[in-house]
């Protein structure tokens, strides 16, 4: 089957900002790095586009590629610790996305949460993925994701009580 360039470009146009946002929130708002990762993800997707089942959701497929790519990125360069320590940790990082005071505090507290809580909250509220999609990406049950999001929100509320 000949690759339909227009078909793929259509998907790209639909999801480019979402994938860029996904990376931006996870690499400390380093724009160039997020752009590079976005580019790599779409090229990887195109390379495997023949294997993509058109009946499936492209969103689930592209987020799965992005998620695996990010995991590989951390793993290969042993950057996980470094990024985990630095993600949104400084005021200047947060200022890069021009947030209001309240949102700035929310983001800072999310960053201080455990990795698993932070991930589900970003996926649910920034990437706006459904519980099923998050469950698929993280290899969990729908119910487990719903519970984890609920618990993470409780934890975050507790942290933000003082503001």
């Amino acid at each position: 089957m000949e690759i339909s360039h227009n078909n793929f470009i259509g998907y790209y146009n639909q999801y480019k900002d979402k994938i860029y946002t996904y990376f931006l929130y996870r690499v400390g708002f380093k724009r160039e790095l997020a752009e590079d990762l976005t580019s790599e993800v779409f090229l990887k997707a195109l390379d495997n586009f023949d294997g993509f089942d058109q009946n499936r959701s492209f969103q689930s497929w592209i987020y799965a590629i992005a998620h695996n790519h990010l995991v590989n990125y951390y793993r290969t360069a042993n950057r996980e610790v470094e990024l985990a320590e630095n993600t949104f940790s400084t005021r200047s990082d947060i200022q890069k996305i021009e947030l209001g005071y309240e949102l700035e505090m929310v983001l800072k507290e999310i960053n201080n949460m455990e990795e698993s809580d932070k991930e589900v909250l970003l996926m649910r509220f920034v990437d706006q993925l459904s519980n099923t999609e998050i469950a698929e990406l993280l290899g969990k049950e729908d119910g487990a994701i719903r519970t984890r999001i609920s618990r993470s929100l409780v934890k975050l509320r507790g942290k933000l009580k003082n503001f």
């Binding site: 000949e2 976005t38 706006q128």
Partner: protein, 284 residues
């Protein structure tokens, strides 16, 4: 703080810069091109690919047939009786069908006439000593057939040229035909010389008939369309006059109306031409 879930939903969604977007799209286009190229190469160059097998076989057949056809058409050694002769004739038929204008048809018919005479010359030049009487007779029949065909093609070319309405095109066609007529006579003379050497009276007679047949158009081919007949003025009492009076009588007498023209015809008869050996169709 308002509802936390609403606050979280308000976290900004970034937009990819135009520069980055352009770079990614460029890379995507490059990769699509590369992948399609790879697929094409895989399909056409895979040794077990059916498409490749069929394509290569078709290409081989096309090359062999095309090469053979070109060889057959352009080679005067491919004569009647040769294995490739039917192929040559088929291609000539196509050639005729593809000649769309009348001038093109005249050119094609001229080319075919000359081709037939070249074939006849080749056949006549063959050494009869190496052949038995049946073979000689067969070759002679083929020579006669080629000469007949050449004359027929010339007749058709003349007929077609007469249907050309545009005066300039008609004049051009006549000039071409005139040259071809001269060239055909030369070929016929050469074949006649060979026949005379072989003391083949029958063939000599056949060639003379052919020369006679193509010389009957001398007068028509001599006509010049720059001669314009001017209509007489109403009630002038005079007939029309030719603007160019150099050859006006020949133009009018194309259908043999003039007595003088009859004399010209007889002066240019094949017999007198044969006697002089040159200047067919010219008035001395």
């Amino acid at each position: 703080m308002e509802d936390l879930e609403q606050q979280l939903s308000k976290l900004p969604k970034a937009r990819l810069s135009k520069r980055a977007d352009f770079k990614i799209k460029f890379k995507i286009r490059g990769l699509v091109l590369l992948k399609n190229l790879q697929k094409f190469v895989k399909i056409f160059f895979h040794p077990h690919s059916l498409v490749a097998k069929v394509s290569l076989t078709a290409l081989a057949i096309f090359v062999v047939l095309g090469g053979t056809a070109v060889y057959a058409v352009n080679n005067d050694q491919v004569t009647p009786g040769s294995v490739l002769y039917p192929l040559k004739k088929t291609i000539e038929n196509v050639e005729q069908q593809l000649s769309l204008t009348k001038n093109a048809k005249v050119d094609t018919l001229n080319k075919l006439s000359e081709r037939r005479l070249k074939e006849a010359l080749n056949l006549a030049g063959q050494d009869d000593a190496k052949k038995d009487s049946d073979q000689v007779e067969k070759v002679n029949n083929n020579i006669e057939q080629s000469i007949d065909e050449a004359v027929n093609n010339f007749d058709s070319a003349i007929e077609t040229s007469q249907k050309i309405e545009d005066a300039e095109d008609s004049q051009k066609a006549r000039e071409v035909l005139k040259k071809k007529q001269e060239s055909m006579v030369k070929y016929l003379d050469n074949i006649s010389d060979i026949a005379k050497n072989k003391k083949d009276e029958k063939m000599v007679k056949k060639i003379n008939e052919a020369k006679e047949a193509i010389s009957k158009y001398d007068q028509m081919l001599e006509r010049d369309d720059s001669d314009v007949y001017i209509e007489p003025a109403p009630n002038s009492g005079n007939g029309g006059v030719m603007k160019n009076s150099r050859d006006n009588d020949s133009s009018r007498s194309n259908n043999g109306e003039s007595k003088d023209e009859g004399n010209v015809d007889s002066a240019n008869s094949p017999e007198s031409n044969r006697d002089s050996g040159q200047g067919r169709g010219r008035r001395d």
